[in-house]
Amino acid sequence: MALTPLDVRRIAELARLDLDADEQARMLGQLNSFFRIVEQMSAVETSGVEPLYTPLAAVEAPHLRLRDDAVTEAVDRDANQESAPLTKDGLYLVPKVIE
């Protein structure tokens, strides 16, 4: 089932991307050519197979470490915000959301 121009516009909206008409047309062709190679995957019987979300789980049970609930490093807000496009008084500035 091929994607339609409407699908591409919907996915772009979800992905927070603006695509102009040319980009949309190119993207549609490229995504459809990609999903043709995906079709071979759908036919494989996988019922009962555990998904492998993280590779080492193939050989050992994954475990998530918990660290002590303690302060381990100081936060230097000025240094962390050095690459921010726009800040004021340590806050990130964005267009007004609530009128």
Partner: protein
């Protein structure tokens, strides 16, 4: 014999020369900075920090003078621009992060600095490590030093080209679906991607978190072992870091196998050759070089075993669903608010996000975000993402079945030698298909290497891929080292185009 110029020496030889005071790190660093300047046309670097490098070189020379015998003290390297650094901008090859300054160093960067290496700069790569030619860099392409009309491979193309052109003895890289092994193969050098979890991902700009892994590109297995030893090991700051004791890879490469002799150092090593790695689509020149290398390995005592990886072809759609899914999630952080590019014109917050992202990301990154967003969206998750993760388990299980019959798997890195710049630029799917031989080990999280084993069409290098079981980096490096002691492919250098 006249003494070799410093740029002709690899990591291990430079360490010995520095220890013997045959040259200083300042002399070496100055020489390599001059070489970078003289080879600027190759486009290997995104940033060079000459002053910072010379300060580090002076500090390294002091460490040597004070008796530090560390193998890497004073050895110049550079980092793929995926690792964040305080001293230099970190761009990931993207306009999105143009000029971005990290408030911290990646663990890999910090560990290599602690080991005494001198960081010359940051190296070019495909944008956010998405690509296999380095043509997706938002800044400039990188040329293959063996033939400057061809791509160096990718995404760690700047790293591979700089090492091949003898601008550096070693460089870091990252490998999500082949991004160390394939450029190493295309540039005729040695590269290793260790087991997932061996190198910390802390400070590596994220592409696909369940696949991304740091590694090394250098001239030889011995040099890779030295650098990998210094940059790997458990890091509490990476939740997927493997909690294992540090490994001395350099000691492992020379350890004798039981029953081995000087002539047969690989006695009894079982090398599995998957029939799916030698399909009709494999170029004849590549296959010829690989068959000769397998015969050489057999001559060194290895036993070649037929094995099967029946889902090799399926690894392409599986990888190209999982990696973009993770990328679409990881790259949602680039919103024009906290860091990165921010559009100049927007009417509201939604437009700020969309305009900043649309201006900041290149075409390949947008494509992968679109694929990932789609396969994770409501109604499609089970059919695509979940199905891909199930197949990923089956691919990992296939490897475990192979490793019951062999110790190492060998095959091609890529179906062809490096292709001409521009040849695949408008055909993303053709690029994806060319990743067929590196994707399976990536999906399983297994360690993989590329070692140079000859030349194919256009006198371009051909690499042999070796894949080991989990945490068997030592076995891979040992086999590669034995091969390199018996052959000289890894010491061949591209001829200098100009004096």
């Amino acid at each position: 014999m006249s003494r070799a110029a410093p740029h002709e020496l690899g990591v291990a030889d430079l360490g010995r020369a520095l220890a013997a005071r045959e040259l200083s790190s300042v002399e070496l660093t100055t020489h390599l900075l001059e070489r970078f300047a003289a080879h600027e046309r190759l486009g290997t670097a995104l940033a060079i920090d000459g002053e910072g490098a010379l300060a580090q070189a002076r500090a390294a020379d002091r460490r040597r003078a004070e008796g530090d015998v560390g193998a890497l003290v004073g050895v110049p390297i550079a980092h793929k621009d995926i690792f964040v650094t305080r001293a230099m901008p970190s761009t990931a090859g993207s306009r999105m992060l143009e000029g971005y300054r990290s408030p911290f160093d990646a663990t890999v960067v910090a560990r290599l600095a602690d080991a005494g290496t001198v960081t010359l700069g940051k190296l070019n790569c495909d944008e956010f490590a998405m690509g296999s030619s380095t043509e997706n860099s938002a800044y400039h392409p990188t040329l293959n030093p063996w033939d400057e009309t061809r791509v160096p491979g990718g995404s760690s193309g700047g790293s591979a080209a700089a090492v091949a052109a003898r601008l550096l003895p070693a460089a870091t890289g990252t490998d999500t679906g082949g991004s160390i092994r394939q450029p190493a193969s295309f540039c005729g050098i040695t590269g290793i991607k260790p087991t997932y979890g061996v190198c910390s991902r802390y400070g590596m700009i994220a592409f696909a978190s369940s696949l991304d892994q740091a590694g090394v590109l250098a001239r030889s297995a011995e040099d890779c072992a030295l650098v990998l030893g210094a940059m790997s090991g458990f890091d509490a700051r990476d939740s997927t870091s493997a909690e294992r004791p540090p490994q001395d890879f350099h000691a492992m490469i020379a350890a004798a196998r039981p029953g081995a002799t000087a002539m047969r150092p690989l006695e009894g090593l079982r090398i599995g050759v998957p029939k799916e790695f030698f399909p009709a689509a494999l170029a004849g020149d590549v296959e010829q070089a690989l068959r000769a290398a397998l015969a050489e390995l057999a001559g060194l005592g290895a036993v070649l075993v037929d094995v099967g990886l029946p889902r090799t072809e399926l690894s392409i759609p599986v990888y190209y669903l999982i990696a973009p899914a993770e990328a679409s999630s990881n790259l949602s952080r680039y919103d024009g608010v906290r860091y990165g590019h921010r559009a100049e014109r927007f009417a509201d917050l939604g437009e700020l996000y969309r305009a900043s992202r649309s201006e900041g990301f290149g075409a390949e990154v947008k494509r992968r975000i679109m694929i990932g967003t789609y396969v994770l969206s409501h109604g499609y998750y089970d059919a695509y993402y979940l199905q891909a993760q199930k197949l990923r388990r089956m691919i990992a299980d296939d490897f475990q079945a192979c490793f019951r019959e062999c110790d190492v798997i060998a095959g091609p890195v890529a179906p062809t030698v490096a292709w001409p710049i521009g040849a695949q630029r408008d055909d993303p799917v053709a690029n994806y298909l060319a990743d067929i031989f590196t994707l399976p080990a990536s999906l399983a999280g297994l360690p993989g290497m590329s070692i140079p084993v000859g030349f194919g069409a256009g006198a371009m290098p051909v690499g042999l891929q070796l894949v080991g079981n989990y945490f068997a980096e030592g076995t891979l490096l040992h086999a590669a080292h034995a091969f390199q002691r018996a052959t000289d492919w890894h010491v061949r250098a591209p001829s200098e185009g100009r004096p």
